[in-house]
Symmetry: C2
Subunit: 379 residues, 2 copies
C-alpha cells in the first residue's frame, strides 16, 4: 500500500527533457520525447514508455521509475477500459491521495484542463520553477567553466585567423581569398565540437550587420570595422552552457568605435563593481544606460532602427543559455551562486556594433569572473 503524498500535494511535469531544462534538472535524464515526472511526499517518480524505461532506471536520478505499459495493464484489468496516459497519472495521484497539483506556468493547457476536470486544484508556478536551479553548486560552476574554456579556445582560434588575414581594399583575405563570416563561424564551431561542445547560432557579424545584435553575420569580413563574435555553446555531456562575446577590428578602429569600446568596458566595470548577493539587476542596468547617455551614446529608435544600448546587461546561464535572473530593466535580485553574463553593447548605423561579454558568478561580496580571455580591439 503506497504511502499518501504529503498534504495531498504533488508537482507534475510533462515534457521532453531535451527541451525542458527543469525536467532535466529534476531527473538528470535526457529524452527526446515527452515523459512524465511526479514529485510528491519527498519522492520523485518517472512514468516511462517501454522504449525508455530501462535507460531511465539506469540513468535518471529519481526515486522510482514506473512502466506506463505495466501500469496500463493493471488499470485496464481493474476498469475494463483502455486508459490514456493521463488516466494513468490520475490513477497514480489518486492512489497517493493527491488533491492539488503544482505545475509550471508553461504546462500544456490540455493537460491542465484534464487534471482540473478530474477535480484537482492546479497552482501554476513561473520561472524559476526550482529556486535552487538559479543558484549553482560548485559542480555546476565547474561544468560551466569547462564549456567557457572551450569557448575561449575557439574564439582565440578565430581571432588568430583574423589577425593573420590581409587587407585588400576594404576586405579581409586569407591565402589570397576573401575571408568570410561563414569561415570564421565554421572554425569556431568545429573547434567547439572537437571539445564536446555544440555551438548553434554563433554570431560573427561585421559592420552594420552587427547593429542587429542577433544577426548571425554573413559574407566577406571588412577591414577597419568592428567584428562582433558571440559564442554560446552547450557541452554535449554536462549540458551546461557558456557565453562570451569579443569584438575585434582588423586594421584601424575609428575614433567612434574606440570610444564605444571604452564606454562598453566602463559599463562592464560598473556591473563588476555592483554585482553581489542582494543587488538589484535593474539598478545596475540603469546605471550603465545612464553612463552611456552621459558619454554621448544615446539609446532609442533613430531613422527607423533601434540604436544605442537596447538589450539587457546580462542573463543567468546554466542548463539554458538564457535563464533567470536578468540584469535588465526588470527588477531581479541577484544571489550568491548565480552565474550571469555581463554584456553591455553599443550599436550605431554609422559605426557598427560593439559588445563585450564575460561570465561571472555572484558571490557574497562581489563577483568572480569566469572568463579569462583578454579584450583587445585592434588585431
Amino acid at each position: 500500500m503506497p504511502s499518501a503524498a504529503q498534504n495531498g500535494e504533488a508537482m507534475v511535469l510533462i515534457a521532453d527533457s531535451e527541451r525542458d531544462a527543469n525536467l532535466y534538472y529534476a531527473t538528470r535524464f535526457l529524452a527526446p520525447d515527452p515523459f512524465i515526472y511526479v514529485q510528491m511526499g519527498g519522492r520523485r517518480i518517472l512514468l516511462m514508455s517501454d522504449l525508455e524505461v530501462d535507460r531511465a532506471k539506469a540513468q535518471s536520478r529519481v526515486d522510482e521509475v514506473l512502466s506506463l505499459s505495466q501500469l496500463g495493464r493493471q488499470v485496464k484489468a481493474r476498469t475494463q477500459q483502455e486508459p490514456s496516459v493521463l488516466d494513468l497519472v490520475d490513477h497514480l495521484l489518486r492512489e497517493r491521495q493527491v488533491k492539488s497539483l503544482t505545475v509550471p506556468a508553461t504546462f500544456g493547457v490540455e493537460y491542465a484542463d484534464y487534471f482540473r476536470s478530474k477535480g484537482y486544484t492546479l497552482t501554476t508556478k513561473r520561472e524559476p520553477l526550482f529556486e535552487q536551479r538559479a543558484v549553482k553548486a560548485e559542480e555546476e560552476i565547474r561544468a560551466i567553466e569547462q564549456t567557457q574554456r572551450a569557448t575561449e579556445r575557439a574564439v582565440q582560434a578565430a581571432i588568430d585567423i583574423i589577425r593573420e588575414s590581409e587587407i585588400r581594399g576594404e576586405e579581409l583575405t586569407i591565402g589570397g581569398k576573401p575571408l568570410t563570416a561563414e569561415q570564421i563561424k565554421k572554425v569556431i564551431n568545429l573547434h567547439l565540437m572537437q571539445n564536446e561542445c555544440v555551438a548553434q547560432h554563433t554570431i560573427v557579424a561585421c559592420g552594420v550587420q552587427a547593429v542587429d545584435p542577433h544577426n548571425e553575420g554573413s559574407g566577406v569580413l571588412k577591414a577597419h570595422q568592428p567584428i562582433v563574435m558571440d559564442v554560446f555553446p552547450q557541452h554535449a555531456q554536462s549540458r551546461y552552457y557558456a557565453d562570451m562575446t569579443r569584438t575585434v577590428v582588423k586594421g584601424r578602429a575609428s575614433d567612434k568605435v574606440k570610444r564605444m569600446q571604452a564606454a562598453v568596458l566602463e559599463g562592464q566595470a560598473i556591473a563588476f563593481q555592483a554585482i553581489r548577493d542582494g543587488a538589484d539587476g535593474s539598478l545596475i542596468h540603469q546605471d550603465i544606460l545612464d553612463r552611456f547617455t552621459r558619454l554621448g551614446f544615446e539609446t532609442g529608435e533613430m531613422g527607423g532602427r533601434m540604436q544605442g544600448f537596447f538589450h539587457g546587461t546580462g542573463h543567468g546561464l546554466g542548463l539554458e543559455v538564457h535563464e533567470p535572473p536578468r540584469i535588465s530593466p526588470k527588477r531581479d535580485i541577484l544571489k550568491a551562486g548565480m552565474v550571469v553574463t555581463v554584456e553591455p553593447g553599443l550599436y550605431y548605423l554609422d559605426a557598427g556594433g560593439l559588445r563585450i561579454e564575460d561570465l561571472v558568478v555572484v558571490t557574497q561580496n562581489g563577483c568572480r569572473n569566469l572568463t579569462q580571455m583578454p579584450k583587445v580591439l585592434e588585431v
Copy 2:
C-alpha cells in the same frame, strides 16, 4: 481603423521558435526567447521586443511585425496603466474584435488562464497544429535530402574507420590503440559540422549497450558484435533534419545476428511495400511485428528487460526529428508528401541490437527512398 478578424477568431502562439517548430514553420523566424504570433483574418502578425523587432521585420515571413514597446506606450497613454505583454495581446485582439482563440494543446496554462479570464473562448488543438506541415513541399524534401546526404557521408567515414581497424583479442584497435565509440561519434559529428549540420546524441552503441535503443554508447568497440550507428542531425541553415541508422560488425557476425539482419531487412521491405497515400501506419507496424514473431523473434519483457522489437517502425521528420505521423501501434494515416523513417530493429541481451533505418517520402502509390547508403553487415 484595423479590419475585424474573420468570424472573430484568431490563433495565438507564444513560444520561442528555437524550440517550437510550429512557430518557426509559421514565421520562418528563429529566436531564442519567447515571442508572440497572432493569425487572424488571413493576416499573420508578430509582436516583438526591441531586441528582435528589426530582425523580425527583415527575416520573418509574416504580414506585420509590431513593436511591443511602441504598442505598450500607446496602451499606457490611453489607460494610464503599465500593461503586461499579455495585456498588449488582449488589446490587439479586442481591436480586431476577436472573441475566440485557437491555441496548441501545449499552450502554457498561465497564458490560457489569462485569456479565459478576459472572456475569450479557447479551443486547444493537438499536433499537427498546421496540417500542411506534415505534408512536405518539394523545397522541404530537398532540404531533408541535403541533410541526409551529409549524414550518409558522415556515417560512411565512420564505417571506413571501423573497416580499417584491427582486431586485437575481442577489441577493435586503430594505430595500435583501442577504438572507442566516442572516437567514432566525434568523426561523425565533426564531419556533419563541416557540412553545416548539427548532430546531437549520435548513437554508436556496441553489443549489449545497443539493446537499449537510446543508449548513446561508450567505450572500446568490440569485434564480432553489432555496432548500431544512429545519426539524426539538423541543418543549421534550413533547420531540416535527416535520420539514418546502420548496423555493422567488424569481424564475423554470429548466426543469430545474421538472422536478425535478414529479419530487419524483411521488416523494412514490408514497410516499403505497404507505405502509400492512405495507408494506416499501425497495420504496417503490426505486420512487421507479426513477421518477426513468425521468424522466432519474440517481443516483450524477458529477464527484467524489454527485448525484441519494442519501438515504433517509424516517425515523421522535418523541422523536428520526431513529428507526426507515426508508424506505430497507434492508428495514423499516411499521406502523399509525408517524410517518414522506416527503422525496424531487434534487440536481445545475448546478441546485441540490430536496427536499420531509411528515410522515405510517401507518394500516391508507394514511397520513394531518400536514403542512398547501402546496408552491409560485416565490414
